[in-house]
Symmetry: C2
Subunit: 433 residues, 2 copies
Amino acid sequence: MAQRLDAQAPDFEEKFSALLGQKRDLAPDVDATVKAIIDDVVARGDAALVDYSRRFDRIDLEKSGIAVSKAEIASAEGRCSKEQLDALDLALERILVFHEKQRPQDLRFTDPLGVELGWRWTPIDSVGLYVPGGTAAYPSSVLMNVAPAKVAGVSRIAMVVPTPGGEVAPLVLAAAKRAGIEEIYRVGGAQAVAALAYGTKTIAPVDKIVGPGNAYVAAAKRRVFGQVGIDMIAGPSEVLILADSSANPDWIAADLLAQAEHDESAQSILITDDASLADAVVAAVERHLKTLTRHEIASASWRDYGAVILVRSLADALPLADRIAAEHLELVCEDAEALAAKIKNAGAIFVGGYTPEAIGDYVGGSNHVLPTARSARFSSGLNVLDFLKRSSILKCDAEALRAIGGAAVTLGEAEGLTAHARSVSIRLNSLGV
Amino acid sequence: MAQRLDAQAPDFEEKFSALLGQKRDLAPDVDATVKAIIDDVVARGDAALVDYSRRFDRIDLEKSGIAVSKAEIASAEGRCSKEQLDALDLALERILVFHEKQRPQDLRFTDPLGVELGWRWTPIDSVGLYVPGGTAAYPSSVLMNVAPAKVAGVSRIAMVVPTPGGEVAPLVLAAAKRAGIEEIYRVGGAQAVAALAYGTKTIAPVDKIVGPGNAYVAAAKRRVFGQVGIDMIAGPSEVLILADSSANPDWIAADLLAQAEHDESAQSILITDDASLADAVVAAVERHLKTLTRHEIASASWRDYGAVILVRSLADALPLADRIAAEHLELVCEDAEALAAKIKNAGAIFVGGYTPEAIGDYVGGSNHVLPTARSARFSSGLNVLDFLKRSSILKCDAEALRAIGGAAVTLGEAEGLTAHARSVSIRLNSLGV
């Protein structure tokens, strides 16, 4: 049973702060293990991958090969239903359309002093995509990570996926194929991250690694950051729903549980100005829970981290929502658009009762890789810019240098960097300045 | 004396790979120390800051106060020359103009199925700026970090700067004042990063920390990442110059040394198709070195990490330049513009003989906080987007949900996330689907 808070109660700030401060990410400290695995992959390459896969995934890569063959991918696709493949295709097309609009412009301009300035965007050359295996095998996640990279123009995408006992979800391989991935390796864990970062005989190194994973994968990504780029370190997922009396309590309950079923450390919060809606949602959650296949996970998440907060008006909910900075924010109320325009911190905003968060997970078109654990305060969901980098451009002619060079000499000298100053003054001197 | 490589030589690939693989960042492993300092600041707050400042900076914060007063800032400004303040003002104005052009657009559109999509950019609420003290006190760095934050609309910027022996460069405080910073604390090291991330009684916590620092600061930023956002972890700086026979060897030498004087692990590389230019540059470097104030640092950098690479044509230099992925790339040759358009990996490109890299450090207008140590392969210089975050927006009405909801149900069920599927199907059912 989720906790209930009343924003009018004298101890509310204390309870709300405690809610914000809750540690949901109970990942064990695996850093030492991960360091050893990475060092081993750097030293022994493919042989290390073979050993770890035998130990952790119960699979013999010497027999199966490290790379997944085209025939295997095609065969996996053949095992998916037409309905599933059609759903994948609809999702992929919509995700591509949305992300196409994120392509940034290059710029070049000449300022009044004659200095030319600008920048040029270029795609990252090669990207590694980590895809979890086993129970958390999500084809939608493959699409969400690949689409923005493709739109950015990344020419090489190498995917790694662990195959415990040799198994991989057919729809994951089908999603990869339809998204245009041709390079897939059946390795996972810290060893896969190490292979992508440093390369082995079979797996050429990449420039950036994206994709979710368990505690070992997260620790490995942190460790190889610098050697390669990484996306965010994903934490447990969360939804915040702001609802008023116009909301359907049964739908709100379903949305809270869609979040709660992810894992036991997921968090679902409802803020409402209607006490009877709160009661009805809580009751509906209990009803839904009984018939959910992931009953135990969802129950634990709702019990340990769920919360229902009563406010005087939804305007009062805004500062609370910004402090929660939820990964997903649903606005199910009369003035949802007005509220959406005022929210500062949220990974994605779902407006109105006909936009359950799950639409954004699959087929809305926006990205479902979003900042978790309050990081929407300072970061954004995955997007095309994550697969591009920008080189700034500066160009002076003699006149332009004459106009601004003196100030550079002054600042270089003030900073004690006299060679900086000289590199400018030597040119100014030649111009008779 | 820098090493010389010939791209035509049979052992070139081996030597070039070794050059790329050189470990220049010899920072000690201070992680355990840093963890203890952070824990202590979290536990004891201001009292810990007082203790560490006494120990590391030989200053009694109980006497001086943790915050730098407005009177101190004004007095520091009074000690700067008019020429210096004018140079700061020119730099700041130019940096602001350039970064204004980086402000991204919000988007909202309705697709053919009736789904509304879009995104909204909002500034990060509060940012902490780390400014190194002592010998590496760079007012230009204050401007480069603050300007994009101001353009983004960040409402609170808190600056920390260590003041060894109570000293802080007056021009650093003047730069902060002119850039609009009113909140400055005289603390540095890991303790300052901890205070910004977790807050103390005096220093309210921020959402993101930016700015360069030593090994302790870098390790602390890595540790607090997640609790707050951070910018890149800056490594040793580097310049790559591509030059042909049209280049002035004396100017090229000055530019190589402007990089080398930063610190002993800085790297300066020249690639040229003209052996006699190479000879002339090497000779000019030796001449310049004799009269540089930072002679020892620049000599050590040039000796240990400097390189001159001879290629058959500058077209051959392109793939090498992309592998080096230099922080700064100067193109001093006949077809500089054509080369600039082909470069894939570079933090900033300086086009033509009248654009020494130092212009970009101070007054060009582009940002001098740039990706180092080959990270231009996957990241970009500091910019306005680093101080914004984007919330995606999704809005379905009943018709739109009817059009795409079925595919979401299919994918949710395929992933075993039946509560996801239910949150959509419960609505579709009400629509008679």
